[in-house]
């Protein structure tokens, strides 16, 4: 799968190599958020792994979440069923990485 990511640091490997390497996954997710939501003024380095993504921190909203759900489901072949699950998954970068690591199914995932 082409991750569509201009930052080649995060690409070129198998998806499960990234998913199970928490640091790489966190950086990958930050880049994905920046690109999906077109946060042009934000860099990967400015996003804190522990800070809430919504309201505080990046100040994302529920519509941003809707866009991220589609991107994450497509890349990681997982389902974020509803807003209750989404709220927990999007609590922070660390929470999102943990959610993906728990839900990810390597056999069904494509290559980056």
């Amino acid at each position: 799968m082409d991750c569509g990511n201009p930052d080649q640091r995060h690409c070129g490997g198998k998806l499960d190599d990234i998913v199970y390497n928490t640091d790489r996954l966190c950086d990958y997710l930050k880049q994905l958020i920046i690109e999906t939501l077109k946060l042009e003024d934000i860099t990967v380095e400015q996003i804190d792994n522990d800070k809430p993504l919504f309201r505080e921190g990046l100040q994302l909203d529920s519509i941003d979440a809707l866009e991220l759900v589609v991107a994450i489901e497509k890349i990681f072949n997982i389902i974020i069923e509803d807003e209750d699950i989404g709220r927990k998954a999007f609590a922070s970068i660390n929470a999102l990485a943990a959610f993906i690591q728990d839900e990810f199914q390597p056999a069904s995932a494509a290559q980056l």
Partner: protein
């Protein structure tokens, strides 16, 4: 792409002091077009509420190409496109009936919320069935 057509007349109270239709009225014309399309598929706002949903507009865009004037007969053309996210995206064109001059075109995006005000990530059940009918209709050439 299939477009439904809704006809309106530009009223005296809808023009500004330059004799041109005031820009805000185009939103009301989009709304008239949207309702005409939704009515065909039992997706009127009250019917969405019956199914347990509301669909607030979160994005609205309009490009103005040519002014409409008092008394003009206008055609509002409306369709929907298939979105990537769980949303309803309408596209609009407003034409002058007499010679099909394009007056404006626009787009609106609506998300879906449940009765409990929760964002819908995945459209399902009866709502999905009706929206699929709407999409199928609009995708026909």
């Amino acid at each position: 792409m299939r477009w439904t057509e809704t006809e309106e007349t530009v009223r005296f109270n809808e023009v500004d002091e330059w004799g041109m239709a005031w820009h805000g009225h185009y939103m009301a014309w989009f709304e008239a077009g949207r309702m005409d399309l939704l009515r065909r598929f039992d997706l009127m706002p009250f019917q969405m509420v019956e199914l347990g949903y509301i669909a607030p507009v979160i994005r609205l865009q309009c490009d103005y190409k040519h002014p409409a004037r008092c008394g003009d007969r206008i055609l509002i053309q409306t369709t929907v496109i298939k979105p990537e996210i769980a949303a309803l995206i309408f596209q609009f064109r407003i034409l002058l009936k007499t010679n099909q001059t394009l007056l404006a075109r626009g787009e609106s995006t609506q998300v879906l919320l449940t009765r409990e005000n929760k964002m819908v990530y995945r459209i399902s059940g009866e709502l999905e069935r009706r929206i699929n009918h709407l999409l199928k209709y609009c995708q026909q050439a």
